[in-house]
Amino acid sequence: MNCKDIRDIILTDFLDGEQWEEKRREIDQHLAGCLACRAFAEEAKEKAVTALQNAKPIRLDEEAIWQNIKNQIEEEAAPAFLSNPLMGFLTHLKDALLTPKVVMASVKVAIVLLVMVFQFKLIYDNHLAQQKPPAEEIQVLAYALEEFTFEESNGEESEMASYGTAIEEYFL
């Protein structure tokens, strides 16, 4: 191998410790006798490898990235129509209303309202019943009315009916 071949290997396998035993022996022999290639190997290591190997790992805001990823996953998992804000609100409202606590509270309120309506109806019916005239009074009134109309139809004038005013009597 000439110096160019050796330098190609120095830049790759030699610097990275990847070369197999036979190749390594050959390179070591060449470097032992070639000052220029030895200098090249040292320069290549210093200028193209060491700085990168010494680079410290950077750290990003891992918590913020995770929150963004989580939000994106949850967004993608939701049905497409939920991306509409109104539909999203309605669905959240439905979910909130259908929780067991809310359902139980609604049932209790409905029962209380039914009992109140029933009670009110009873009180109202009683009130109406008190305002109605008793059946006996109605019968008496009906009888009196009947008698009065019967007398009128027979031509018998009552005391009130037989006398007019003084002027009427004069002309009659």
């Binding site: 990847e18 200028k47 193209a48 990168l52 190997q53 680079a55 790992p57 996953i73």
Partner: protein, 184 residues
């Protein structure tokens, strides 16, 4: 980094978010490091790291345990970072040194200066490479993967790995010589 138990991966494949969070916590360190070194700035690195894990989440059911999860995650990270560079046209590194050292927490002013110099140099070296060369150099010199692992990760022949590394190092040496010439 500890390899995750297959059971965790299977749970995540079944949609268990807690299991996926474990995958995230185990891999986020090297993913963000690789992505940052390839894209070259913190803001883009954050965005691409997020994309990497969303890709992992969406494609997790395609993972058949034929390679290690780590290799698969490396592949997605490198692909996302290279695609980002090509999409945005940001081929040059624009490293915010202050951010890098704030995150690393240097022990002393002297060490901090040394780190800053080294970081500046790393940034300059990587900036002169193509995205593909940058990816193999990051996997080899920063992450310490073997040629065989890089070939598996990027799904390329091992001789392609070798030739990319050689060209990348030639480019880095040329850059350093150019810098020395300019300083003189």
């Amino acid at each position: 980094m500890v390899e995750l138990a297959q059971e965790i991966i299977r749970q995540a494949q079944a949609g268990d978010l807690r299991a996926f969070e474990q995958i995230y916590r185990t891999h986020v360190g090297f993913v963000s490091n690789v992505v940052y070194r390839v894209v070259g700035n913190m803001e883009d690195a954050q965005e691409v790291t997020q994309d990497v894990f969303m890709n992992i989440y969406r494609k997790l059911n395609n993972f058949r345990f034929e390679s290690s999860l780590k290799t698969w995650v490396y592949r997605i990270s490198v692909n996302c970072a290279i695609n980002h560079i090509k999409r945005t046209g940001k081929h040059k590194n624009t490293v915010e040194y202050a951010d890098v050292f704030a995150a690393q927490g240097a022990d002393s002013v002297r060490e901090s200066m040394h780190q800053m110099d080294n970081e500046k140099l790393v940034s300059q070296l990587l900036a002169g490479l193509s995205p593909e060369q940058r990816a193999v150099i990051v996997l080899r010199s920063i992450e310490g993967l073997s040629y065989h692992e890089i070939a598996q990760t990027l799904k390329i022949p091992i001789n392609t790995v070798r030739s990319r590394i050689k060209r990348a190092r030639e480019a880095m040496l040329a850059l350093r010589q150019e810098v020395v010439k300019n300083e003189l």
